[in-house]
């Protein structure tokens, strides 16, 4: 009961901060629109020359673009701002204030700050999904919607785990821009169906850095194309990643001995 209340407070204070910097909010929101267009163009360009991309039609691929945009939104709203703070807090020693609070440290470290401008991406993504459904003249049933919600939720939880692990590694390395760059570079692959890649890269993007579970597989679920075994793998992989990163976070704070004192 305490945690939902706390989270509501976090949301409120984040909103107040955001309202303080209105020009920044507007700039960020506009950039969300801009990058959504760039992603859209980079995918649509292929369909000038082909009717299928890795076995996906234009309308189907649009769902992936939509999910890519939505995931960007989640990253900007929750993951990025909190990771930045964790890194800063480790560097200047203010992490102590988080650790001494009578609340789960992971909860504060990953959910304390919310950047509402990221919500534009969520809205653009949702709009694009509706548009794609109209393009395909397809209406998902209740089962598809439920499966989609589940798969997308699992995907976001995996993403969260990856970012949590990055936060935790800040306790050892302090500077983790490199790691973030590396992840960003690989994340760019998620704007296309996983089937557009072959061999090693596909396996890597499915099991090692599971970006396929963030866009391709949820899109399959929505379109009613999900293989049952994918769902099983998703649950297993998500549980594994979440458990590992949580464990890693605990070890990180156990290992932490403040800065300069």
């Amino acid at each position: 009961m305490r945690y939902p209340k706390l989270f509501a407070l976090f949301l409120k204070s984040s909103l107040l901060v955001e309202l303080e910097y209105r020009s920044n909010f507007i700039a960020q929101a506009l950039m969300g629109v801009f990058w959504a267009v760039v992603t859209f163009v980079s995918v649509a360009l292929f369909f000038q020359h082909t009717t299928m991309l890795g076995g996906w039609s234009y309308g189907q691929a649009l769902v992936i673009v939509a999910l890519f945009t939505m995931t960007e939104g989640v990253t900007q709203m929750f993951l990025e701002p909190n990771l930045q703070r964790v890194v800063a807090m480790v560097r200047d020693g203010t992490m102590d204030f988080v650790l001494t609070k009578p609340v789960n440290s992971q909860f504060i470290a990953t959910l304390r700050h919310v950047r509402f401008s990221g919500a534009t991406n969520l809205m653009i993504g949702a709009g694009l999904i509706v548009y794609a459904m109209a393009q395909l003249s397809y209406a998902p049933g209740a089962t598809q919607l439920a499966l989609f919600a589940l798969m997308f939720g699992l995907g976001m939880l995996m993403l969260y785990s990856i970012w949590l692990a990055m936060s935790a590694s800040a306790f050892w390395f302090v500077k983790i821009d490199n790691m973030q760059e590396l992840f960003r570079a690989l994340w760019d692959t998620a704007r296309f169906p996983i089937s557009a890649y072959s061999g090693v890269l596909r396996a890597l993007l499915t099991f090692v850095l599971p970006v396929a579970f963030m866009t391709t597989f949820p899109a399959q679920a929505l379109l009613g194309l999900l293989e049952p075994e994918t769902l099983v793998i998703a649950v297993g992989l998500c549980a594994l990643l979440f458990f590992l990163s949580m464990h890693f976070w605990r070890r990180a704070i156990g290992n932490y001995s403040s800065a300069s004192s």
Binding site: N24, M31, S42, Y197
Partner: protein, 262 residues
């Protein structure tokens, strides 16, 4: 001037070798081109796309990668930071325009990047028999000239956008926007030949194709003499325009600039 550059370059080289790992990771930023290449290859496997065979795509993206490496810039971020922190003030006191600092750093870093990119690129091109490059003296000369022009276009446009930080705190949004436009319209995500004719025709009059697509094509598909001349002329005109605007903006900026807190 050369002596000044040598000493500025020496300083940058020292800084850069200090952060070697960083640069290795920056290279990954170019990973997007590799991804795009892989996906285009998936399509061209069923037959040439707008005259591009699989080999053409590999050649295009490899040479494009080289061009992108050489034209990589970040001076706008640097300038934005310096303006916000007020450290620009001390640079302004030097008897040399701060832009030369950035140019020297940029060129020095290229040496390091090339040490990594060139071997990989050469290996891919040599090991893929379907690729073909135009390596006659004339093409190489034209390529190098176009490359210099491309670097100037990218560097100047980036620095110009960076100058916005004299007036706004949201410069990063503009820098990102310029980057996004370059991704799409300079030929990073695809050879511009993949765009609809009308878009290509319109782009001819913008500076973007001459930042990557133009030099890359000289060495890969080859260009008709007319297109080659048009490209060089366009580079020249755009560099001139950018320089003129930059001078004007810089003058106004200096009049209004007062460092923060110092």
């Amino acid at each position: 001037m050369l002596k000044k550059y040598l000493s500025l370059g020496k300083v940058s080289w020292g800084l850069m070798t200090e952060y070697r790992a960083q640069i290795l990771i920056w290279m990954l930023a170019s990973f997007l081109m590799i991804i795009m290449m892989i996906v285009w290859l998936g399509i061209s496997a069923q037959g040439a796309v707008n005259g591009y065979s699989s080999g053409d795509f590999i050649s295009y993206f490899m040479i494009g990668w080289l061009v992108r490496t050489i034209t990589a810039v970040w001076s706008s971020w640097e300038l934005d930071y310096q303006v916000r922190q007020g450290t620009l003030s001390s640079l302004l006191l030097r008897p040399i325009h701060p832009i030369h600092n950035e140019i020297a750093a940029n060129l020095t870093e290229k040496v390091l990047r090339l040490l990594i990119v060139l071997p990989i690129m050469a290996a891919v091109l040599l090991l893929t028999p379907a690729t073909a490059l135009r390596l006659d003296a004339l093409s190489i000369l034209a390529f190098l000239l176009a490359l210099a022009g491309a670097w100037m276009l990218v560097f100047l446009s980036d620095y110009l956008v960076g100058m916005l930080s004299f007036w706004t705190s949201q410069t990063s949004a503009f820098i990102n926007m310029l980057y996004g436009l370059r991704l799409v319209f300079s030929g990073i995500i695809a050879p511009l030949a993949m765009f609809p004719e009308s878009v290509q025709a319109a782009l001819r009059w913008s500076p973007f194709p001459y930042m990557l697509n133009f030099p890359t094509n000289i060495l890969t598909k080859g260009l008709a003499p007319g297109d080659l001349m048009f490209g060089f002329a366009a580079q020249l005109v755009w560099v001139g325009v950018l320089l003129a605007v930059m001078r004007l903006v810089w003058k106004r900026a200096m009049r209004s600039y007062s460092a923060v807190g110092a």
